[in-house]
């Protein structure tokens, strides 16, 4: 029965009913999530798998690359250089070669990534003060690996020479010294933990909300809800609240995995990091609601979420490929990718220990985007069909 009149008692009853309505709706949403194995798997399996995959398997750091040595010199020097290479942790010895033909064969088979060749007379030349050579051959089918391997090997060999003759100045007059700031060990986890976080939060928040609203539309339950005293705002909020909570939990899991398992530092404020995470989740949810307000079916919602968000997030946010090396038009497009700003913020807080004073710009962009999408969705709010 509708309640009319304006006495405070009546108003209190109305408010209580409104609250009951809303909690019943949120409860129902939790039932949907907790009873659907696929949803649960995406919610909690995905972040775990992603972080661990990127952390341990899909890494571009060089570890234990297979190399072969062709030692035509067989001297203490060649032996010591070999030992130094193998002791670095970057390389492991696959085999000792006997001839130049073996090199090609080994590369063809793909068993080695790098071959180190000591020419005959290497020690003799060196000790008589003549210039001497070591040849490095790398399998450049993976060009980045090849470049890294030869760089590492060159550096190690140079170190060896410097150690041998600490007093002899190299002929170079310019001494270049580089220092890797913030990430001296060049750990890949520093890059992908923020990236995975952005990806998972976007996926869970935006994809899930857009799909669940589309599902209600498909099953016809949305029609019944619309012909109920529930307001559209209550329906939307009821959809947002559970996913906001679950996504936040997800964000915390990823941060914990990053810090405790992958040893990403947390130099900045945890509170700031969590607030920025909440902001990003809110943005992702607004995008999800926006998508659901313009599509009709779960399938389209899923497709739109994946195409419009996941792919750009992976390719254009700077997560996988550096934005600076993209062509100009794509660089401009990357400015529209929310994940780009979030990744910068997370990196800033966790690794550089930056505060809001340095991060206010990307934060402001995220706030602006949230307002934009929420505004659009609210404008698309309908009290009726079509």
């Amino acid at each position: 029965m509708p309640l009319t009149g304006s006495s405070t008692a009546v108003r209190a009853v109305v408010e209580k009913r409104n609250m009951n309505r809303f909690t019943a709706f949120v409860k129902k949403e939790f039932f949907h999530i907790l009873r659907d194995r696929r949803t649960l798997l995406i919610l909690f399996g995905l972040p775990l798998v992603q972080v661990l995959l990127f952390g341990f398997a899909l890494t571009n750091e060089i570890k234990n690359a297979n190399i072969a040595i062709l030692d035509n010199d067989k001297s203490p020097h060649s032996q010591q250089i070999t030992n130094k290479l193998l002791a670095s942790g970057y390389f492991q010895l696959r085999k000792n070669l006997r001839s130049n033909d073996d090199i090609e064969r080994a590369f063809r088979k793909g068993t080695i990534k790098l071959a180190v060749v000591f020419p005959a007379g290497f020690t003799e030349n060196y000790e008589h003060g003549h210039s001497t050579r070591i040849q490095l051959l790398a399998d450049a089918t993976e060009q980045n690996t090849a470049i890294s391997l030869t760089n590492y090997a060159t550096a190690i060999i140079r170190d060896y020479v410097t150690d041998l003759n600490p007093n002899v100045q190299p002929p170079l007059t310019i001494d270049v010294r580089s220092r890797m700031v913030f990430n001296p060990e060049l750990k890949g986890a520093f890059v992908f933990v923020p990236g995975v976080m952005a990806m998972v939060l976007l996926l869970v928040s935006a994809l899930m909300t857009s799909v669940t609203i589309a599902r209600e539309r498909e099953t016809g339950t949305l029609e019944v809800l619309m012909v109920s005293p529930l307001s559209q705002g209550q329906i939307l909020l009821g959809k947002v609240v559970p996913y906001l909570l679950l996504s936040f939990l997800n964000g915390c899991i990823i941060i914990a995995l990053g810090v405790f398992v992958l040893k990403v530092p947390l130099n900045g404020s945890l509170l700031l990091l969590l607030s920025e995470t909440l902001l990003f989740i809110f943005l992702a949810l607004s995008i999800g609601i926006f998508i659901s307000s313009i599509v009709d079916t779960q399938l389209v919602a899923m497709f739109a979420s994946l195409m419009a968000m996941l792919l750009p997030t992976i390719f254009l946010s700077g997560f996988m490929f550096p934005i600076e090396s993209m062509p100009k038009p794509l660089q401009l497009v990357s400015n529209l990718i929310p994940a780009k700003y979030f990744i910068n913020i997370v990196k800033g807080i966790m690794i550089k220990g930056a505060g809001l004073r340095y991060l206010w710009q990307p934060t402001l962009v995220l706030v602006g985007m949230s307002v934009f999408f929420m505004g659009l969705s609210l404008r698309n709010l309908k009290t009726r069909l079509s």
């Binding site: 039932f31 339950t221 005293p229 069909l385």
Partner: protein, 307 residues
């Protein structure tokens, strides 16, 4: 005042008209049927009445409230069961009912007497997920959910579509019982045999109402003689009868053909001899009383609706 008043309501989707200038009045406490084939505009009319769609033209009131202006108040007063299964398949029977009760600002105990008879059949399965119920059970649960807030007017859009014959009959028995308590009910169906269960029916086709009356008055409009005809080769029979000079119309109804002849002067012997001339065997002919389907077929083929 009438429970539902529809005045000159039109609605089109783009260029396609779905409902064209329909006017209807439904009295309080009536069990009123909208009968018509798919695409007749029944669902569109329902959605306008339950405030889900805005009419392009005309106005309508339900329980005295305007469907456009007073939609908020109206949404508390109507019970609506859309055409397709519209419950949460992953919630149990009990959870579905409790959810809709709370959403409509009530509780199951508060209005239990209203649904008791229907819900008692579902109670043994109250912890079963709604998605795992049979078609008939789903309809019963959906009806309970639409009734739980004690609506003043009940809208059921094709509630029996896709439900087996026994469950359909049961469902109509339930509607009749609810109606006896004074609940105004508007129900749509594509099954013409269900029309006779209503107090009054409106026949709809391509967005217009062809006729509105009680089921018996509607069949009384059928004035021409009607025969049930049967022979060995049904297909050839229908072809030949449609070509016969005395035939007004001929349709298949189960194992018999229903033949309407142009005047009372045409006798069954005349039909028999015509069929013998056309080499039909095992011919059976007998005059029958027109049913509601015969009337609808006749109305559909008439050039102008007789409202």
């Amino acid at each position: 005042m009438d429970a539902i008043i529809i005045e000159n309501v039109s609605k089109s989707y783009g260029e396609t008209p779905a409902v064209s200038a329909i006017s209807l009045s439904i009295r309080p406490g009536e069990l009123f049927g909208l009968i018509g084939p798919d695409g007749a505009g029944k669902t569109t009319l329902f959605k306008i009445l339950v405030t889900l769609l805005l009419p392009d033209q005309g106005r309508a009131t339900v329980a005295g409230y305007d469907v456009v202006k007073d939609y908020k108040a109206l949404r508390q007063l109507v019970g609506y069961m859309p055409g397709r299964f519209s419950l949460y398949p992953d919630l149990s029977v009990q959870e579905n009912l409790a959810f809709f009760a709370t959403v409509f600002g009530t509780t199951i105990p508060e209005n239990y007497p209203l649904i008791q008879e229907i819900y008692s059949q579902l109670e043994p399965f109250k912890d079963r997920r709604a998605g795992q119920l049979s078609g008939g059970m789903k309809q019963k649960l959906a009806l309970c959910c639409a009734l739980i807030h004690k609506p003043e007017v009940l809208f059921l859009d094709e509630p029996t579509t896709g439900v087996d014959a026994v469950s359909r009959k049961e469902f109509w028995d339930m509607l009749r019982k609810l109606n006896e308590r004074g609940l105004t009910t508007l129900v749509s169906t594509p099954y013409m045999d269900e029309a006779s269960r209503c107090d009054r029916v409106a026949f709809m086709q391509t967005g217009t109402v062809l006729a509105v009356d009680t089921p018996s008055a509607i069949t009384n409009r059928f004035t021409k003689p009607l025969y049930a005809v049967r022979a060995t080769d049904t297909y050839q029979l229908i072809q030949d009868l449609r070509l016969a000079p005395f035939t007004e119309s001929c349709y298949a109804f189960g194992e018999f053909l229903h033949l309407t002849v142009k005047s009372a002067a045409v006798s069954d012997r005349q039909i028999d001899s015509y069929l013998l001339d056309n080499n039909h065997r095992n011919i059976k002919i007998h005059p029958i009383q027109p049913g509601i389907e015969d009337t609808f077929m006749a109305l559909m083929t008439q050039p102008e609706p007789t409202a």
